[in-house]
């Protein structure tokens, strides 16, 4: 008797848990398969940085129901296997389009093949993949090499305007090894250093973090006391480098003649731009996360039967609080430099 009572109690408990677990999705599950809406599955890397979160928000805004979309969003929590699962789930749900912001460049052949066999167009965002080009419809991302070239061109133009004739002793704090941002920005740096005759003292990875950036810079400063320019491959590294320089008793700033160390940075996060506005960072080159609008228009083009270019780049700006350089020229093309003010900073969405 006792056993039965216990068993009944346990089944009851189970039922309650299940009902409560299923109750939540039941509400939002309704009305999802509205035929007039374009269903889009979006697999995002995670929510590891402000940059990523702004990217997610921008996509969510652009693919809203008012704009005629039904967005199925999946956060992969920085795990590649979760992203592969998400793509398979999108295929089972028979979505109209799949958008992926891939965590890794490799390992996409299998799931992209499944998508292409199901006839679902795939658009890749932000990062590249090494799968066969026929497996995806289009890819959009940042031109990291161009970002690097713009930063180097700015430095060159700035030093010329200052009519600085001394030696440029430069250090490159690289990003995570193997990341496409690191590859592009480092390549631009190497080319520029060779072209302009800069003296490269060190080139080490700061893994895109403040802590590692500081650690690496501290050890570089112990070896070289003549550093006058630091090329940081993202904002977080720049903060670490600033701390390292200041604790070594040196000054960060724009006046190279007076022995101040110039910082260049990328990503234009809010914190990074705040440092740019107060002159700590000379120039901050944008890495635009606002893909939403662009993606929505790409999907609309496909929906209307149009074709897309295989690889496109998103437009990116460059910010400085210093008014000396108004524009930079890279490969014959002129790009304006935005002079940063508090208003511009306040208006930016990220």
């Amino acid at each position: 008797m006792k056993t039965r009572a216990l068993a009944a109690g346990l089944w009851g408990l189970l039922a309650i848990i299940l009902l409560s677990a299923c109750g939540a999705p039941a509400e939002t599950g309704e009305g999802v398969s509205d035929d007039s809406l374009i269903t889009v599955g979006f697999s995002q890397v995670g929510a590891e940085s402000d940059w990523r979160t702004s990217c997610t928000n921008s996509v969510m805004e652009a693919f809203s129901e008012e704009n005629g979309f039904n967005l199925i969003f999946s956060d992969a929590q920085q795990k590649q296997e979760n992203q592969i699962k998400a793509v398979r789930d999108f295929i089972s749900q028979d979505v109209d389009y799949i958008i992926i912001d891939p965590i890794t460049e490799s390992g996409w052949d299998q799931s992209l093949k499944e998508a292409s066999d199901a006839g679902i167009p795939v658009i890749l965002v932000d990062r590249a993949v090494d799968a066969d080009e026929s497996l995806y419809t289009a890819a959009i991302g940042s031109d990291f090499e161009l970002e690097g070239k713009k930063a180097c061109a700015y430095l060159k133009a700035y030093l010329d305007k200052m009519s600085y004739k001394g030696e440029v002793n430069i250090v490159d704090i690289q990003g995570t090894i193997g990341a496409s941002a690191t590859i592009g920005r480092s390549k631009a740096f190497d080319d520029a250093a060779k072209k302009y005759g800069w003296n490269v003292l060190a080139q080490e990875t700061g893994e895109f973090t403040q802590a590692k950036g500081q650690e690496v810079m501290e050890s570089i400063l112990k070896r070289h006391d003549n550093v006058n320019v630091v090329y940081c491959e993202n904002d977080n590294e720049a903060f670490g480098v600033r701390d390292a320089i200041e604790s070594a008793g040196k000054k960060v700033g724009n006046n190279i003649e007076k022995g101040e160390i110039i910082l260049l940075s990328f990503d234009t996060t809010r914190a990074g731009l705040t440092e740019t506005l107060n002159g700590t960072i000379l120039v901050n080159t944008e890495c635009n996360p606002l893909y939403g609008e662009r993606l929505a228009s790409m999907v609309k083009t496909l929906e209307e039967g149009g074709t897309l270019e295989k690889h496109t780049y998103i437009d990116e700006d460059q910010y400085s609080a210093n008014e000396l350089v108004k524009s930079v020229t890279v490969d014959g093309k002129t790009y304006p430099v935005t002079i940063l003010t508090q208003e511009i900073l306040d208006e930016r969405p990220y």
Binding site: A7, L10, C22, N82, K85
Partner: protein, 342 residues
């Protein structure tokens, strides 16, 4: 027949029946809620196996280790190291796919033997040994290469992407393509491992000894079982199976980097506990663990079919399920002990 034996078989059956029921309820609920979105398609069910093939094998091995009263928290790191070795041998050293896989499996056996020796003969806590193992493997994976290796070896790609389609139950999707349900070879391997493990634990001398040691180590020793040797064998087999799981994992992801499979050990333990294996040892079933993994997979599918919930809900669901099973287990144990004592 002793009381002890009676008791464990009782618990075994009731725990696994709860797991089975739970899986069907969850899956049925999914079909009801997300039926119009295609949750009822056979492919969704098969995807549970495709996505989790590696995890299923590793959970089967974890079940065996937990039945004997131990634990192995190095599995995630070992998978990362296996992937790294596989990638390095094939892509940087030009080994063939088969010989690389063989090498990984042999290394897995040696690794398991080492852990087993420390646990069985040096009598160190399994948690401590495998914790050290975890750091070792994660470190080695990064030492082998700190960069991402992408596997493009032709025969490895062909094996892993060989699509085995069922000729029936196909569905026409809205892009006008007829899609038949399919699996990859990894699913067959995973299923074979589960069946073999079940048979081995149930019907062989070794398998019964594993249950006996987990139930009561001293009693097993008095029965004349060579406890140390059986423990050594268990952890060696564990090293082998985890490496097989690692290869299956790699076949799904096709890329190797040192952070791969982070937290996989916890997923395997969660799947095993949800599947009705007691953390204290002596009770467990590999089919239960298979279902445990699939319950987690179903919860993941729920979240992604819903499309607007945060994916961290998977973790919360797992937490709820885990607590539920742990509470049931201890209730049953208390209840049984009382029955025996009166």
């Amino acid at each position: 027949m002793s009381f002890k034996e009676l008791k464990t078989f009782d618990i075994n059956k009731s725990l696994i029946s709860i797991t089975i029921l739970l899986f069907f309820i969850m899956y049925g609920a999914g079909m009801l809620i997300f039926g119009r979105q295609g949750f009822a398609k056979p492919q969704v069910f098969l995807n549970l196996f495709i996505n989790n093939a590696g995890l299923i094998v590793i959970s089967a091995s974890m079940t065996m280790v937990m039945i004997i009263g131990g634990i192995d928290i190095s599995v995630g790191a070992l998978v990362a190291m296996d992937c790294m070795i596989l990638g390095d041998l094939m892509m940087n050293r030009g080994w063939s796919a088969w010989s690389s896989m063989l090498a990984v499996v042999i290394l897995g056996i040696i690794y398991g033997l080492t852990q087993g020796f420390m646990i069985a003969y040096l009598k160190i806590q399994p948690f401590a040994v495998t914790l050290a193992g975890m750091f070792f493997c994660r470190g080695m994976a990064a030492v082998i290469s700190s960069e991402v290796i992408s596997i493009t070896n032709e025969s490895f790609v062909n094996i892993s992407q060989l699509r085995i389609s069922l000729p029936l139950l196909g569905t026409l999707n809205k892009h006008g393509k007829m899609i038949y349900p399919f699996i990859y070879p990894s699913v067959i391997v995973a299923f074979a491992v589960v069946v073999l493990m079940f048979l081995m634990l149930r019907y062989t001398k070794f398998g019964r000894a594993v249950y006996a040691i987990g139930g009561n180590e001293n009693a097993a020793m008095f029965m004349g079982l060579n406890v140390r040797r059986i423990k050594l064998l268990t952890y060696t087999l564990d090293g082998f199976l985890v490496s097989v799981g690692g290869i299956l994992f790699c076949m799904n992801t096709m890329s190797c980097f040192s952070d791969q499979a982070k937290g996989l050990e916890m997923d395997a333990i969660a799947g095993t506990v949800i599947g009705g294996t007691l953390l204290s040892g002596g009770v467990g079933n590999v089919f239960g663990s298979l279902l445990g993994c699939m319950i987690r997979g179903t919860a993941e599918s729920f979240i992604s079919f819903n499309g607007s919930l945060s994916s961290w809900w998977v973790k919360i669901t797992t937490a709820v399920l885990l607590s539920f099973f742990i509470i049931i287990q201890s209730c049953m144990l208390i209840f049984n002990n009382r029955k025996i004592s009166c």
